[in-house]
Symmetry: C2
Subunit: 150 residues, 2 copies
């Protein structure tokens, strides 16, 4: 979460003054990026819902492959919440920035849950996967409830 | 490219009949996904442009970290070009589907260039990075010229 803390505490001026490490040229680029990273993560996570619910047969390889991608993606979107990215084409609530510590903690909770899910997914054990999938889904919902407009 | 070939040759009906492996519930989900994957890839690739052009100092870690993500992303978007995803909020030209073999070859060319760039990026050698970055950029442009509307 170093990057998030850094981004959240940096002024927009400071961000724009860091050409060597410039992640986004414009605030709207950061917003587009974070939404894209969430979209890819949610796609690979969400498509396993029916398997986690036992509605389709467990397939260890499908689970492991998709969760590995979701876990990789989980590290990315939070770099896109820097200062100056609160306005624009976004559903992010002002609390992302006004309660930055709480938001950072919610992000870390998701990332930790996703990492644990990745371990469970690699194990090939259906029950472990289902339990960890449910726990991870709760962290998604928790953060959406607090930090995303409907 | 197995997944792409599979997706491109499958009828929409067949795709929708594969619940266990269903990647996308609706064509618009696939379109949103592929655009998101390209957005994340382009962000991590594009931010290194100034460094590849020597306009900012070479930073081996920044290069390696960003290209590793771009290389991971390069595998993803082509699963989103399945049958039935030619209409909607997309700039993809009809040639993606009418010249599917050529599109698959262009996708592979980019993925191979990105893999070579990833090796160069990990080497920490600025000249190797710059050369491989340029080669990869050409594959992006080539595919956009042929398969993406302006």
């Amino acid at each position: 979460m170093k990057r998030l803390t850094l981004a959240l505490s940096a002024s927009l001026g400071l961000m724009l003054a860091l050409p060597a490490a410039a992640q986004f040229q414009k605030p709207e680029d950061a917003i587009k990026y974070r939404k894209a990273a969430f979209t890819v993560m949610a796609s690979h996570f969400g498509r396993l819902g029916p398997m986690a619910q036992g509605r389709v047969p467990f397939d260890a390889k499908v689970v492991a492959d998709n969760i590995a991608i979701a876990a990789t993606m989980s590290a990315l979107p939070f770099a896109g919440f820097g200062a100056g990215t609160d306005k624009g084409d976004t559903k992010a609530k002002p609390e992302v920035w006004s309660e930055a510590d709480k938001f950072a903690a919610a992000a870390k909770k998701m990332q930790d849950a996703m990492a644990a899910l990745n371990v469970a997914a690699k194990s090939g054990n259906a029950d472990q996967f289902k339990a960890a999938f449910g726990e991870t889904g709760k962290t998604c919902k928790g953060c959406h409830d607090d930090f995303r407009k409907e």
